[in-house]
């Protein structure tokens, strides 16, 4: 069977040392997607992420040297551009969708804002209030968030990148932020080394390259801060205790069952582990969906994923399901049993064969739009992986053996499989 390849259509350039531009053709004439990643130092713990989140919200439509926010916004609107930003691992990710005829001017304006922001008091206070009050209140009312937070508290200390703060701690962290210090953090951690741009456009690459070169010319090249080892992990006395959190007015209980892992995204066994996790709960053909939805009808859906794949830290296995309160007590033991059985006995050759068929078909479907390809290249490039891997995936998948997958699954300690639940328990 032949598999489609994609990377031969990508033109890679280096506008300045340390910066990389991957240029893709667009399938929609006249439309440009552009995703930028600006490095911002080392991984930080979620518990102290308030400053990064506020900066992410403040940008990219903020005032900058010689360009007020209202003028910038009006210019972006007139150009028909949609621009948004968020913190993505160690990067500030900025995404632009714009008619191609406007791409150069929009890119210039956005880069000016994110490279030389002024962080006016008013703009800062607005972003601070929105993160600290609104998002904290949203978290407070969100059962999925509380299940994840409880689970992470079992295994990770507050300094670990996977730790999640309580809404109250997060709100307090936002309230305490000061514009000047936040700007210092933003500008002080930025470096040109590792800037990534992924564009799909019918505008020639050299024109986009020129805009990037002009914008980053004045930014110090610097070096990427090395990723620090995080020792802030915990060993619970009894990991089998189910952690629960009461959230009023909820008719469902969100459950997360997971385990900390020893493998990282760079481990040789990563692809085998990924296959094993997909067989557990990657979709409608997964064991969790089959057992919890189709066999017992406990839930609308149940999924398993690997988290931490965009970091250099050991991964974590997370499986989730949401049960009506009335069936929670019966459903939880079944959910735990499926997880334990998978961790102890592994998967079968038949399941692996089905996974290969599904994964290879899914690849064709999921990469059939320009935007999906941009997102995929962006994910590879920002995590420091070679984008050529996008084309070698089918070979890797086809070569997997049952023995390899089960060996990867068996790196998980079954007694480390922990459950956390959030819903209306009182």
């Amino acid at each position: 069977m032949t598999h489609p390849t994609y990377t031969h259509t990508i033109e890679t350039r280096e506008p300045l040392s340390g910066t990389t531009l991957h240029m893709l053709p667009t399938t929609v004439r006249g439309l440009t997607y552009c995703s930028l990643a600006l490095p911002h130092g080392a991984y930080h713990a979620q518990g102290v992420s308030a400053v990064a989140d506020v900066c992410g919200l403040l940008l990219p439509e903020c005032s900058s040297r010689g360009q007020s926010r209202s003028v910038l916004r009006a210019a972006l609107r007139a150009a028909g551009a949609e621009v948004w930003a968020h913190m993505h691992g160690t990067h500030l990710a900025v995404h632009i969708v714009v008619p191609s005829k406007q791409v150069e001017s929009v890119l210039r304006m956005v880069l000016r804002a994110v490279l030389t922001p002024t962080f006016s008091q008013r703009e800062f206070r607005e972003a601070q209030q929105r993160m600290g009050q609104y998002y904290a209140a949203e978290m407070e009312d969100n059962t999925r968030f509380h299940a994840r937070r409880l689970w992470s508290e079992v295994w990770y200390g507050s300094a670990h990148p996977y730790a999640l703060h309580t809404p109250e701690a997060y709100r307090n962290a936002c309230v305490e932020l000061v514009a000047k210090e936040s700007k210092e953090w933003y500008t002080g951690t930025r470096t040109r080394a590792g800037v990534v741009a992924v564009c799909a456009s019918d505008v020639p690459a050299k024109r986009v390259e020129r805009v990037l070169a002009e914008a980053f010319e004045t930014v110090a090249e610097g070096t990427r801060e090395a990723c620090v080892d995080v020792e802030d992990t915990r060993t619970p006395a009894d990991a089998t205790v189910v952690q629960t959190h009461h959230v009023p007015h909820k008719e469902n209980v969100d459950v997360l069952i997971g385990a900390p892992l020893s493998l990282t995204r760079e481990s040789d066994a990563y692809h085998a582990l990924r296959a094993g996790v997909y067989i557990l709960g990657g979709g409608a053909a997964g064991r969790l969906f089959h057992q919890l939805r189709e066999k017992h009808n406990f839930t609308y859906g149940s999924y398993a994923t690997l988290s931490g794949t965009d970091t250099p830290y050991p991964l974590a296995l997370n499986a989730t399901a949401i049960f009506p309160r009335a069936v929670y007590d019966r459903a939880l033991p079944v959910f735990q049993e499926v997880m334990l059985c998978w961790a102890e006995k592994g998967i079968t050759a038949h399941e692996l064969a089905a996974y290969k068929t599904e994964a290879l078909g899914r690849r064709v479907v999921s990469l059939s739009s320009t935007k999906a390809l941009v997102d995929t290249v962006f994910a590879y490039a920002t995590s420091g992986r070679d984008i050529a891997e996008i084309d070698t995936q089918p070979r890797i998948i086809e070569a997997l053996t049952t023995k390899e997958v089960n060996a990867a699954i068996h790196t998980i300690t079954p007694t480390h499989i922990t459950a956390a639940a959030a819903g209306s328990f009182e």
């Binding site: 607005e126 209140a137 053909a285 009808n297 839930t299 599904e358 059939s368």
Partner: protein, 452 residues
């Protein structure tokens, strides 16, 4: 298997080729459009087929849109459209689930994107598959159009999953607020109840009732098949004729709901009490059906009021220090529907203060025409959105499907064209005509024991 989130013409008529072309059982009725879409009708049974070719993408997307949604339900059978949608995954005559031939087995296990969704005006079923499986898609979708296995056993087994989905909606306070807005604004019309239905109706659903619903609405002359991707027109028409052509047109006319919403006679208001989360305020006004001439104007009004961080309400409420978030929701539906403003309040801000500020912004629109560049900004945003919808098979299918449900898929492109004709005085007229206290519904989420 999802419910689209609770409650989401221009005057010119569509221009069709004057001399319809026929090809092997089809008549072509393609309206003028720049989307690259062709439209054919299968003469034998009235099935409409839309096609857009994306060569070399390696994938094909197929969506069957049935022109039946939750507005066709009445008290006692609310949620039926959605429950039926779930049961449509339990296999059909030639693709029985017990032999491992259900839609999930046929496609999800081959890596396809497979699902279905139900909303106020329509129900859809779709697959995006590697192109070698496209013929199989046509076979499966055609079979379940008239030969679905709807059994008591499957219904009993599936109801807990439906109730789980019901609870999922109720878990989200914002969705509860949205649902109450429609309950309160519409008393008689089918938009009164949400697509998921009332719990007691879901729990008492019967196979006889669902089978009746299926036999009433699931016919080729009440459906549109849309195909997008790496399959040329001749192949698509050939497969549609082979598989869907076996079904006759329905023997009965497809029933149309006849209940009209009585005129609202003044402002309506409700409060939802919560003990945590954020205070919220919603304001809704009745607006005309999608095919009304004011649709492009309302599109501009929605964008100018709350379409971006430079909108009037964002400026007044978020930058004004009252709210953490505000957005406007305007979706053109088949029948008269709601134009909605949702605001999330900052702590210690009174609902009345936010309501007054919204009223002040609306009053400003009524009295002073907008700056022309604001209308131009909306046009630029809509043009970009249309280009975006052309990228990706599911993306395009999902957008065109909503316009099919309004009664005319070409409205999508026309709205874009006609927004360009909107002048500030049109927006002013619509603000005066529709954003009135008499047509207004106010909803509040009030957090009594907030921790902040």
């Amino acid at each position: 298997m999802t419910v689209a989130r609770a409650h989401k013409k221009s005057g010119s008529s569509r221009t069709t080729r004057t001399t319809p072309r026929t090809s092997a059982g089809f008549v072509e009725v393609t309206p003028n459009n720049t989307l690259g879409v062709t439209e054919h009708v299968l003469q034998k049974n009235g099935l409409r087929v839309l096609h857009r070719h994306i060569p070399d993408s390696g994938a094909v997307g197929l969506m069957v849109t049935y022109l039946v949604g939750s507005r066709h339900e009445v008290a006692g059978n609310t949620g039926s459209t959605h429950i039926l949608e779930h049961l449509m995954f339990k296999g059909s005559k030639h693709f029985p689930a017990k032999k491992g031939m259900s839609v999930i087995d046929a496609f999800a296990k081959k890596g396809a994107l497979v699902n279905a969704s139900t909303w106020l005006d329509r129900t859809n079923y779709y697959e995006v598959v590697p192109k070698e499986h496209f013929a199989e898609c046509c076979a499966v979708e055609a079979d379940r159009m008239r030969h679905a296995n709807i059994t008591e056993k499957d219904l009993r087994a599936e109801l807990p999953a439906v109730i789980s989905e019901y609870a999922l909606h109720k878990n989200n306070t914002r969705e509860v607020l949205d649902e109450h807005m429609w309950h309160t604004a519409f008393l008689a019309h089918g938009y009164h109840h949400s697509t998921i239905g009332w719990l007691s109706d879901i729990e008492s659903a019967s196979v006889a009732q669902l089978q009746h619903f299926y036999d009433t609405y699931y016919h080729p002359n009440n459906a549109v098949v849309s195909v997008v991707g790496d399959a040329p027109l001749a192949e698509v028409l050939g497969l549609v004729r082979e598989h869907f052509g076996v079904h006759p047109r329905s023997l009965h006319p497809i029933p149309k709901p006849h209940t009209k919403e009585p005129e609202q006679q003044g402002e309506r208001m409700f409060v939802i009490e919560r003990t945590q989360g954020s205070n919220m305020l919603a304001v809704g006004w009745k607006v005309p059906p999608a095919l009304h001439k004011d649709t492009p104007v309302l599109r501009v009004l929605a964008d100018v009021l709350g379409g971006s961080d430079s909108s009037l309400l964002h400026h007044a409420l978020v930058e004004g220090g009252l709210c953490a978030d505000v957005h406007v929701e305007y979706v053109p539906f088949h029948d008269a529907a709601l134009f909605l403003v949702y605001a999330t309040l900052l702590p210690n801000v009174a609902h009345s203060a936010v309501q007054q500020r919204i009223e002040r912004v609306i009053e400003g629109l009524r009295t002073t025409p907008l700056a022309p560049e604001l209308v131009a900004h909306t046009r630029a945003a809509i043009e970009r959105e249309m280009l975006e919808s052309m990228d990706g098979h599911y993306q395009f299918l999902s957008v065109i499907n909503e316009y099919i449900a309004t009664g005319d898929w070409t409205l999508y492109e026309r709205t874009c064209r006609e927004v360009a004709q909107v002048v500030p005085e049109d927006v002013q007229r619509c603000a005066v005509q529709y954003c009135t206290t008499a047509q207004q519904t106010i909803g509040m989420v009030r957090v009594q024991a907030s921790t902040h």
